[in-house]
């Protein structure tokens, strides 16, 4: 039982962590909290099943096509919901615009794909029992993403440019950094990470339109608690959340697990609105 809690919990936790990182990648580029993170995760599962199961494409082609779709949707998100709103005075409008866009895509999926959860294809026939690929695949995807992002941010020029605009938007622009293109690139990257999350966790979560709200919430919990923008917080928080949820599932049942996660989330945020590792913003007068 312990093994199944740990393997299942870590796998789901890795998906949460990836969704959390998706939030972060969009946030650092634009200071926007986007409701599209969960939508991307949902699409990763649905598109993967569509390409590989329904259309019979090879696994690797299906993965590439899914990520490409994620990238396109990321760019569309930036153009349709973020750019017009960033200009306006009332910045919280992005909450509404990204929510509306995410709902549009979700409803479209529900109508075209159906509201029933459909199976996600088995990709590799490696591993058995608790070492089954459905458990290690999300962890692998998560590790690849975290290491890849770290290399990108630390080692490449474009990665440093990302960091610069997230640190100080105005100063970065004054230095001549193409802020808009960097923001588009970030949303593209976020689109790929989000769909990768859904794709790698497809066998666990199935290809289901309702995953959107679940992933939106459980992907947000680790970043909110760890501090917005911190990938380390998202990783640790996501994995811990997955394991905690599974443990509670086994011990006290699903509903109480959900209530417990929610209660912890609310209480921690009320005590420390900036997250456990974050810092408070400046005064506004």
């Amino acid at each position: 039982m312990l093994e199944s809690i740990v393997s299942y919990g870590l796998a789901v936790g890795a998906v949460y962590a990836l969704i959390g990182i998706t939030y972060n990648v969009m946030f650092t580029a634009s200071r926007v909290f986007s409701f599209t993170a969960g939508m991307l995760g949902m699409l990763g599962g649905v598109l993967g099943a569509l390409f590989i199961d329904q259309m019979g494409l090879p696994v690797i082609v299906g993965l590439v096509a899914t990520l490409a779709c994620g990238a396109v949707i990321g760019v569309v998100t930036e153009i349709v919901t973020v750019r017009p709103v960033l200009k306006s005075l009332e910045q919280h409008l992005y909450v509404l615009s990204t929510l509306a866009f995410a709902l549009l895509v979700q409803q479209f999926t529900a109508i075209e794909w159906g509201t029933e959860a459909r199976p996600f294809p088995r990709l590799f026939k490696i591993g058995a029992g608790f070492l089954d690929q459905q458990f290690w695949l999300p962890l692998l995807a998560c590790a690849v993403t975290v290491i890849g992002l770290e290399l990108l941010y630390r080692r490449t020029l474009i990665g440093r440019a990302f960091l610069a605009i997230s640190e100080d938007n105005y100063a970065a622009r004054a230095l001549g950094l193409p802020e808009q293109w960097l923001r588009i690139a970030s949303f593209m990257l976020a689109g790929m990470i989000g769909t990768l999350a859904g794709f790698s966790g497809g066998e666990l979560l199935l290809a289901f339109f309702g995953n959107q709200s679940i992933l939106n919430f459980y992907g947000f919990v680790p970043v909110a608690l760890g501090g917005m923008g911190s990938n380390r917080g998202a990783l640790i928080g996501g994995l811990a959340l997955g394991v905690f949820q599974q443990t509670a599932n086994f011990l006290v049942g699903g509903v109480f697990a959900a209530v417990a996660v929610f209660a912890v989330f609310i209480v921690v945020l009320l005590l420390r609105p900036e997250g456990l590792a974050g810092a408070l913003g400046a005064r506004r007068v």
Partner: protein, 598 residues
Amino acid sequence: MTDTTAQTGNGRPKGYRSTRYEGLLPFAILAIAGVALPLFDDSYIGLIATRACIYWILVAGLNLVVGFAGQIAIGWVALLTLGAYTTSVLTAGAAMPALPPYLALLIAAVAGAAFGVIVGLPALRLRTFYFAMTTLGFATIVTQVALAWKSVTGGGIGVAGPVFPSPFEPGWGFYYLCFGLAAVATWMTANIAASRFGRSLVAIRDAEVAAEASGIAKPLLLVTVFMFSGALAGIAGGLFASLQTYITPDAFTFDLSILFFIAILIGGRGSIIGPLLGTIILTVLPEFAAPLVAWSTFLYAALLLAIVLAMPGGIADLLDFKNRRPLERHREVVPRPEMLAHLLRGEGSILSLANVVLSFGGVRAIDGLDLDVRPGEVHGLIGPNGSGKTTTLNVISGYYAPQSGSVRLGDAVLPPGAARARASHRIARTFQTPRVIGGASVLDNVKIGGTIDGHGGFIEAMLTLPRHRRDETALRERALLALSAVGLESLADVRADRLQHSELRFVEIARALMLSPSILLLDEPAAGLSAEEIRRLGALIKSISRAGTSVLLVEHHADLIFDICDRVTVLNLGKVLAAGTPDEIRSHREVVSAYLGA
């Protein structure tokens, strides 16, 4: 004509009455249509109309939360679920002796009020997106609990909804019950919206800092509104369960939450009629075209996106004909200081800062400042950028708590921090960038300043009881007086975002005067004004001080300072560089070299 009425102190700008009734017309049409609807004798129409009424009862309350207070509460279906289950379970009698449906409905309202506070509480601490997420979480949790708590809720099988006895039996009788409650909900929320509580909610939404300076208690007000809104949602839930005749957790999808939320935004924030029309449209629209039903949430989402991107004002903005009438082009603000005598009480007390120290990290923004502002004088505070002028104002008005030193007003020690408590000490201020509510009229903006002088409570406002009506009359008179004192009475009914920048500075002064301040703090009031306007501003400030109010003036226009100040303090690097009369300062060698220039 406005001139003469304003001078008598009880006039109102021309056309005030007529615009008021203009706004009532759509409500009257809807009321007549609602009462006459059974003439159709079509049970299908009745069903849809009943549903629209029930949705509106919930949306009416939620409108105060979303449309007025600006809180992004997207999971409000949780409260509908709670109300529906409370009423159904209590009337079904499976878990305990059955209660009559009306009593059950009342208990649902109480439960809704309590739960509304729980759902809303995070709004006091969290930023918009975080709060939106917590309400979303609540919506998921409530459905899951309803599914799991089988012994009470029947789990996935569900429970029968309440049946109301005659005269409100299912059919048109039940419709009239829902319609009547919807009408009452409309009336109550409209009363709140037009009261100082409604204006305070909008102030919290659009000008939170100014709301704080006016003494508006955000936590108390928001909790009250969440309670009210939760109670209405609880009632709506009970009626919803009765309309459905049988409820399961499936009936409470997130799509419903979206419908409620979007109805408000389509209608327009800060309006009652807009969201009402929005609710009717969203309820009725999918019924007309059967193929649309599957796409309804898709369409709602598309509408939301279109509204946010293209028409943030919503339906209410389209209906706001009054504010599309062009304004006079070449307007001049001509203050009339003689009106001040009606506004100010002339009992200033001395404000003294002693050895105040405030540092941000390693920077000492204020470094041992002593300052006395005496009643009836204009005290200028000048100095180079970064010398601590605005920081001093922020310490006095409680936005910053100094590390040491004291701020006293008369004999009272002002508690450090505690910005909201400053209004009760009659300390008023204006801001470097005017903090006004763009979507509200100039008059309503000014009324914000007098919020703490209201006596009637929330319930009295909701029911327009006499004490509340007296409050409102007094507030309007004072606001018109304040507006004529600063010279803006002709613009009283205009939406504030249509004004010029210089006019907004005078709006802020009028708002500050509403408090009958014993101290008035002005933060660069002359910035952006023309030379002529600065001269009039100077005369106004001087008269304010002569009426007994002490004025602390932070300003960069040296001419204005030396023209009207009785005493001047010069700051440099957080310390007093010099203090004295304008003449002494003008010839002070260090001041000249450090700041004024030779």
